[in-house]
């Protein structure tokens, strides 16, 4: 279980987007405390502003009101440089670079290329199980393999926080379950603070310490469900009655039969 040190503090955030017929409210008064080294999932219907929330934390977007505080009570996104890393739904790799060169890209951008960075990249490629494909080009990799490569790339500069935007949403069910197991293993080994966005209740319950349930647009945080299942969780965990109970709870909150504002 994670320690309960506040890590990222999202305070009363609202986001408005300008549109032709008046501004659209994407997020409304969202407040979340994210703890250090915890796995926090955000689940909600399409268009509820989950990705917007992630972009706020990543510093790509500024909130219309409210604030986000990072370690050291700082709200300056430039301090986060090299602290936060993304994994997107589409596993985008540069097609003209080998897997290893793709994993090294963030270090080049951040100006952190050092003599031992190749070794670090290779270690991460082994961690995600792609050591045989180090010098392969992306077009030779399957969707699941590409997403593993993206996870290795996201970890290469040793960020403290991983922002994952429906990373397995485009994968088939079987690959997805495998990737969930893999991600748990990687997370247990690296102990990053993970913010994970998903549409899948099973995925959220399987991976998370806590799950934030969002409402439809305008998105607000309905409730936070704590998942108290022992780790490492396995395939058997999924078929346990406790797991089913957690899934029912989350589903209940999502569909408004419990805890409605």
């Amino acid at each position: 279980m994670p320690d309960r040190t506040e890590y990222i503090s999202i305070r009363d955030i609202s986001v408005q987007f300008p549109a032709a017929d008046g501004p659209i409210l994407a997020l409304e008064n969202v407040s979340i405390e994210i703890y250090k080294e915890e796995f926090f999932s955000i689940i909600g219907p399409s268009g509820c502003g989950k990705s917007t929330l992630l972009n706020l934390i990543g510093g790509i977007l500024r909130p219309s009101s409210g604030e986000i505080l990072f370690p050291g009570n700082s709200s300056d996104p430039f301090i986060k440089r090299g602290k936060v890393s993304y994994v997107f739904q589409e596993p985008v790799l540069l097609p003209w670079r080998t897997l290893l060169e793709n994993v090294l890209l963030p270090l080049e951008v951040l100006g952190l290329s050092t003599s031992d960075c190749h070794q670090r990249a290779r270690d991460l490629i082994r961690l995600v199980g792609l050591e045989e494909f180090e010098s392969a080009y992306p077009k030779a990799l399957s969707g699941g393999m590409k997403q593993r490569a993206c996870i290795a790339r996201a970890l290469v500069f040793d960020p403290s926080t991983l922002l994952m935007d429906e990373p397995f949403g485009a994968l088939d069910e079987i690959t997805r379950t495998t990737m969930n197991l893999e991600l748990q293993k990687i997370w247990l080994q690296t102990r990053k603070t993970v913010l994970f966005i998903t549409h899948s209740i099973q995925e959220a319950v399987f991976l998370s310490d806590r799950i934030g349930v969002m409402s439809p647009r305008p998105g607000y945080l309905k409730t936070v469900v704590e998942i108290d299942l022992p780790r490492p969780r396995s395939i058997d965990t999924i078929s346990s009655p406790e797991f089913a109970a957690y899934m029912a709870t989350v589903r209940g909150h999502l569909h408004g039969t419990a805890g409605v504002k």
């Binding site: 990543g58 790509i60 997107f88 985008v92 540069l94 003209w96 951008v109 080009y137 922002l163």
Partner: protein, 268 residues
């Protein structure tokens, strides 16, 4: 290292790929050869392909230097058109002001028929190769410009988002992402322009020259020598084909990673 089965496979694929075109060409040439006698077409209107070949063999020492001149003009025109277009495209993509000032002129110069300005260029630049290079540039820069602009705007959005999340500078996003993503478009532009550059060079030579395939054609026409004219036309075609294939070869080399590149021998 070449292993025999793979080599055989690629040979089989080459036959499948180029075989039909070669076959059709041979058929057309045979039909042409035979129909001249068959339909009694006078040779001063349409010579036999064999007669054209004989004509070429008898005068290759005279005609090839003309071809080198035209090749040089077309190639220089294409290279300079590429350089100018790419510089303009980078400006257009990054500065609204450049887009607003340069683009209308780029379109306007494209609209003026090259044949209309060629005489003017001869007056300005003389009878040497300079005006031919200019006409080659003028006909061939537009496809490269338009495609490069499009290409530089076609970087993968998720990749750009990722770079932004790493607080990459504009320069880093441009050099590491946009430039490479633009290459397939740039090459598509060069493909079109490679054949246009030859046209530009020849039009330039038509207007006033003392060498080059265009000059050769004008002389042959004044002599009403259809066989010579066919030699000139065939060499023009070869020249265009050569530049085109050169671009394709460069494209295959630089875009080995692109989906359009043949992935492997599995395809057959």
């Amino acid at each position: 290292m070449m292993n025999p089965p793979l080599r055989q496979k690629s040979f089989a694929r080459a036959i499948l790929e180029y075989g039909p075109a070669i076959l059709i060409t041979i058929c057309i040439i045979i039909f042409w050869e035979v129909s001249i006698d068959l339909f009694r077409i006078p040779s001063f209107l349409l010579p036999k392909p064999s007669a054209v070949a004989v004509q070429f063999i008898s005068m290759w020492k005279i005609v090839l230097p003309h071809m080198w001149v035209t090749l040089f003009e077309a190639a220089m025109g294409l290279i300079l058109a590429g350089a100018i277009s790419i510089i303009l495209a980078v400006g257009i993509v990054h500065f609204k002001l450049v887009e607003r000032t340069v683009y209308p002129y780029a379109v306007a110069t494209k609209v003026i028929p090259i044949i209309a300005v060629a005489p003017l260029l001869t007056i300005w630049f003389g009878f040497g190769i300079a005006p031919k290079i200019v006409t080659a540039i003028l006909v061939s820069y537009f496809p490269i410009l338009v495609n490069t602009v499009k290409g530089l705007q076609s970087a993968d959005r998720q990749m750009v988002r990722l770079m932004r999340s790493l607080f990459a500078t504009k320069y880093q996003i441009f050099t590491k992402i946009s430039v490479k993503y633009s290459l397939p478009y740039v090459f598509a532009g060069f493909r079109i322009s490679s054949t246009l550059a030859v046209i530009g060079a020849i039009v330039g030579e038509f207007v006033g020259a003392d060498r080059g395939l265009g000059f050769f054609l004008v002389i042959a026409q004044s002599e009403l020598d259809v066989r010579k004219m066919f030699v000139g036309v065939a060499l023009c075609a070869l020249l265009g084909l050569f530049l085109f294939l050169l671009v394709v070869a460069l494209e295959r080399y630089f875009l080995f990673w692109h989906e359009s590149a043949e992935t492997s021998e599995e395809m057959i």
